[in-house]
């Protein structure tokens, strides 16, 4: 009996394990191995170089720029996404007629692909005919070269990404806000609590685990950003929007410096692993909160 179960389990799990083994574990191990190699233009290893790729990477100005803008991007994107989505979730949690329509609209960006979002925003940032230039002109403010100014280009990518992320974050946060028992608010109303007090004493504590959870999920996604950069700025001007994954792509498939790209991949992996552990922990805490 037990033997039969073992065999059946193996048959059921094998397809997934083969796919994960071939396309996740093997490439991951290979990436770790490739950082010790000098490679030719085809990506074939020529010579063992130890940690040289790593050392060179951390001494490279362009990588330092890349990692700095990635950090700024990730932090700004997560904070703005969570703030906007939380505000929308609280607003849309009210029981009102027609709220379903608003909830659908607020979560709609969840279905929009990176390419579509980036092209829509590419037009908004167009220096001649785009929306933002028109608004600035109407307000008699100086025009901004959105995608070719080092600071504004990053702002543009952050804005596009926040917009894309709001849908998912909103939907998760809405669930958390709606799960708060209404009698808590009724007691608060009886005691004449202000809106601010209700938010601070009831809504925030009740949704705090979910807020952190969404924050970390957004952080992890932001570290993996690629398409917005590819379509809006191509990493420029002068590496100022060269986010980590875009840098990996460039080094691997344009510059053909596989060792360097692999070292960057390892940096990305370590970062994502740390945040995924945090996410698992937060998720446990979230589950515990809602169970108890």
């Amino acid at each position: 009996m037990q033997k039969k179960q073992n065999l059946l389990a193996l048959v059921l799990l094998l397809p997934s394990i083969v796919v994960l083994g071939m396309f996740v574990f093997y490439p991951m191990i290979k990436t770790f191995w490739l950082i010790t190699q000098l490679t030719d233009l085809m990506g074939n290893p020529i010579k063992f170089v130890g940690f040289k790729n790593f050392i060179n990477l951390f001494h490279s100005d362009s990588f330092m720029t890349s990692i700095t803008v990635t950090m700024i991007f990730v932090i700004a994107t997560s904070i703005f996404t969570v703030l906007c989505a939380y505000f929308l979730a609280i607003l849309a949690s009210k029981k009102m007629r027609g709220m379903g329509l608003f909830r659908t609209i607020f979560s709609a960006t969840m279905g929009i692909s990176v390419t579509v979002a980036s092209i829509l925003w590419l037009f908004m940032f167009n220096p001649q005919i785009g929306l933002f230039s028109k608004v600035l002109a109407a307000l008699h403010l100086p025009d901004v070269n959105w995608l070719s100014d080092p600071v504004w280009a990053l702002v543009a990518i952050i804005g596009t990404t926040v917009w894309m992320n709001i849908g998912f974050a909103f939907l998760i946060l809405l669930g958390a806000v709606q799960a708060i028992p209404t009698d808590l608010y009724q007691v608060a109303d009886l005691n004449g609590a202000s809106k601010w007090l209700r938010l601070r004493k009831i809504t925030l504590p009740a949704t705090e685990p979910t807020l952190f959870f969404v924050m970390v999920v957004t952080l992890i996604n932001a570290f993996q950003t690629f398409g917005q950069v590819d379509i809006l700025t191509a990493g420029g001007p002068d590496y100022h929007t060269n986010l980590l994954v875009y840098s990996i792509y460039q080094d691997a498939f344009v510059n053909h410096t596989i060792g360097r790209a692999s070292a960057e991949s390892v940096v990305l992996t370590v970062i994502i692993m740390i945040f995924t552990f945090i996410q698992f922990y937060l998720n446990k805490r979230k589950a515990a909160k809602y169970a108890g």
Binding site: Q2, L8, A9, L12, L13, P15, S16, I17, V19, M22, F23, V24, F25, P27, M28, T31, G43, L88, A92, F102, R103, I105, F106, A108, M110, G111, I112, S113, V114, T115, V116, I119, L120, W121, L122, F123, M124, I129, W163, G167, L171, I172, L174, G175, A176, Q224, F226, G227, D230, I248, Y249, A252, A261, S262, S265, L268, T269, I272, M273, A287
Partner: protein, 272 residues
């Protein structure tokens, strides 16, 4: 009462303003897709006269129809693959007792913390060595298994009442009959949710299709859009926006009709 009325109107007003602001990029895109190029180049954000020629031209002057078909094939294959493989694996984790169950579980779990972006170089080399670049296989194979899907479906299988399992044993149902006649119908909602989610994710995939293909024979719609942007944004905003709107329609439909699935599915089953 009067105060409440005013307050309510205020609420609706605020909600509407925010909804419109959020939708501005999309609304502008639709507006441009219905404008003639002369109207756009004069700086008009709204069409002076409604034209549908941009939509016609997407199908006559570009390969977008072909790219949409490629996207449909790849997304469909990956969706079915992920669904089947995840159901099988989830079944083993929930209903079977076997050696190394913990180890297998950790193997699945650990794939969720390894970002695909850091595996692209070996994956590309592997596909090149297997002579699979520029094929549907190259685009689909790496994603056929899904740890996320396995966990989501596993969570839903765990909700199955134990009596149903006992009853099936008494009835003498085989494992296959139990899966297809009892478990899958009972967990229908979660399966649909994951299928929709999977299709959406695959349809929107960008980095891997970009790397693993370099010609029109298998190129997906997302990469087709990128190509259009690279070729001729300056003159052809109307055409590009029409193509963009066409590409976003399938996923928008999924979001509109699948919203209730997503909300329940993603909040309860998500990465537990």
């Amino acid at each position: 009462m009067q105060v409440n009325r005013t307050k309510q109107i205020g609420n609706y007003l605020l909600l509407s303003v925010i909804a419109i602001i959020l939708m501005v990029p999309l609304l502008l895109g639709i507006s441009l897709s219905l404008s003639s190029s002369s109207s756009i180049s004069q700086g008009n954000l709204f069409p002076q006269k409604l034209v549908f020629s941009n939509y016609v031209r997407v199908f006559t002057d570009t390969h977008m129809a072909q790219f949409l078909l490629h996207s449909l094939i790849v997304s469909g294959v990956v969706m079915i693959g992920q669904l089947v493989l995840s159901i099988l694996a989830a079944y083993a984790f929930v209903f079977l007792d076997f050696k190394f169950k913990k180890t297998a579980f950790v193997i699945f779990l650990s794939t969720m913390m390894l970002p695909f972006e850091s595996q692209i170089i070996p994956n590309f080399n592997l596909m090149r060595d297997l002579n699979l670049l520029n094929t549907y296989s190259a685009m689909a194979l790496p994603f056929l298994a899904s740890a996320f899907g396995t966990f989501m479906i596993k969570t839903s299988f765990e909700q199955l009442p134990p009596e149903l399992k006992q009853l099936s044993q008494i009835e003498g149902l085989s494992h296959f009959q139990f899966i297809t006649k009892v478990v899958m119908p009972y967990c229908k909602i979660s399966l649909i949710t994951f299928a929709l989610y999977s299709f959406l994710t695959n349809w929107n995939m960008y980095l891997w299709p970009l790397i693993s293909t370099d010609n029109d024979k298998v190129r997906t719609a997302q990469i087709g859009l990128r190509q259009m942007r690279a070729q001729d944004t300056a003159s052809n905003w109307g055409l590009i926006m029409a193509a963009t709107i066409i590409v976003v329609i399938p996923t928008m439909l999924i979001i509109f009709f699948g919203q209730k699935y997503f909300k329940n599915g993603l909040t309860s089953g998500v990465i537990k």
